[in-house]
Symmetry: C2
Subunit: 234 residues, 2 copies
DNA sequence: CAAAAGTATTATGTTATACTTAATGCACAA
DNA sequence: TTGTGCATTAAGTATAACATAATACTTTTG
């Protein structure tokens, strides 16, 4: 594993700027002072003079911290430490227009990996009410003809419910985060050939497996459900 | 799904600041102009006058974009569009001290979901060289006694290699991102009972499956490999 | 005397300007 | 042709001043 040369931050050209240093300084300072959520930190000018830099630099560094959800600033009250919200940040970045095709493809794969692998969580936490809801969702679907019209909203509703059932909030956040890319993939031309919307295992089939099967049969069913995507990707 | 009230950005107090607007403006501008990686964007002063704001505001907005890996600035050359670096940002924020226990538990589950679900990618892209390398890694491991000493570095090497094999860069980044939490989980007391380090399926067993099995048998083997974790979580 | 209205203060948000630094390109010399 | 050096350019940094909004304080008024 060659991690050398990986640019970890925002500065791809080795330019360790003053703001970078101040950002790190502030972080270690907060750590030293054992600041916890809600605590007010010194005002910008104080930090600036104390660190021997201009207020501009301090502001830019704090802007980054604020962006990472580490602090929150209000007008007169000053700036306070907050609990970081890990994923909200990526959620914003994750809009597909700016992602290159390879990353989109990666994300699409990632989605399938998640849904195939979630079997155990699903079976551990699913309730009969959940299953009923899933049946209700698939009941809305058009009759299972050979090639049903692909309905993206149905798709999202169904698979979204699966994520809900896992009870894993982080997982659900990830799904919400990846969601925008799916529509894009379906509408775009990531796949060479158009996606066949004939499902090997239908949504209804998956619910049946959840009702009567076990994690292992679910994994296989979900894998089969994704068959045409896999064929296109590989 | 109730998305109302979700605080999406960095400004928790509804203060939509000028920088926020300019940030969004710049993004849509880049999108309009169909900028792709490598393209140079107008210089700060131009953008400032064009948008009718001060250079400072433009700079702060661009600082955020740079932080998100969307642009990269050099001294004379100006600022260019780059492929967004989705995850490096979180990687930095993801240090476990600030995550609550539930999130840590969620992340741990997520890891297992990923590794169980990655079977198909693995088999599609694994080479004999990869398998040899995996065998080399497990060869370093202590002899498989009933309760082997749990070696976190071995663990990381082995499972990290699996992520590498998938050839999915996004997936690998996720792993690197989640990595710090694993050590924390093992050292901390997330689990009620101490983790039994006896593996149901050993690392060597997994390699054997990769050599001779298929995605389905791999998923089951990996599930089994995680058995003691599952027992502890559920 | 207490509640409301108004005023002062304060810390962040924003603007403007000037200076510093490093990379690029061009010109001139070897 | 090659290489050195200077001018130029655009980002990085610094400073000062004003705008804005939230808080604290004071005054008015019932």
């Amino acid at each position: 594993m060659d991690y050398a040369g990986i640019q970890h931050g925002q500065q791809q050209h080795e330019q360790v700027t003053l703001v970078d240093k101040v950002e790190a300084d502030l972080l270690s300072f907060f750590n030293e002072q054992q600041f916890k959520a809600g605590d007010v930190i010194p005002k910008e000018v104080e930090l600036a003079t104390q660190l021997g830099v201009s207020r501009t630099v301090v502001r830019e560094a704090m802007l980054r911290l604020r962006m990472r959800g580490l602090i929150d600033s209000k007008k007169k009250r000053g700036t306070v430490i907050t609990n970081p919200d890990l994923l909200s940040l990526i959620e914003k970045t994750m809009y597909p227009g700016i992602l290159d095709d390879q990353t989109l493809r990666d994300i699409f794969e990632l989605r399938m990996v998640l849904e195939i692998g979630m079997g155990d969580l699903l079976f551990e936490r699913v309730t009969q009410a959940d299953i009923d809801e899933l049946y209700a969702i698939v009941a809305d679907e058009p009759v299972n003809t050979e090639k049903t019209i692909f309905n993206i909203d149905q798709e999202v509703r169904f698979h979204g419910k699966l994520y809900d059932i896992t009870g894993n909030e982080t997982l659900r956040r990830f799904q919400r985060m990846l969601l925008p890319t799916f529509k894009y993939v379906h509408e775009g031309d990531i796949f060479k050939k158009p996606v066949q919307h004939k499902k090997f295992v239908s949504h209804r089939g998956l619910v049946d497996v959840i009702q009567h099967g076990n994690p292992e049969t679910f994994r296989n069913a979900m894998r089969n459900h994704f068959e045409n995507y896999f064929q296109r990707l590989f």
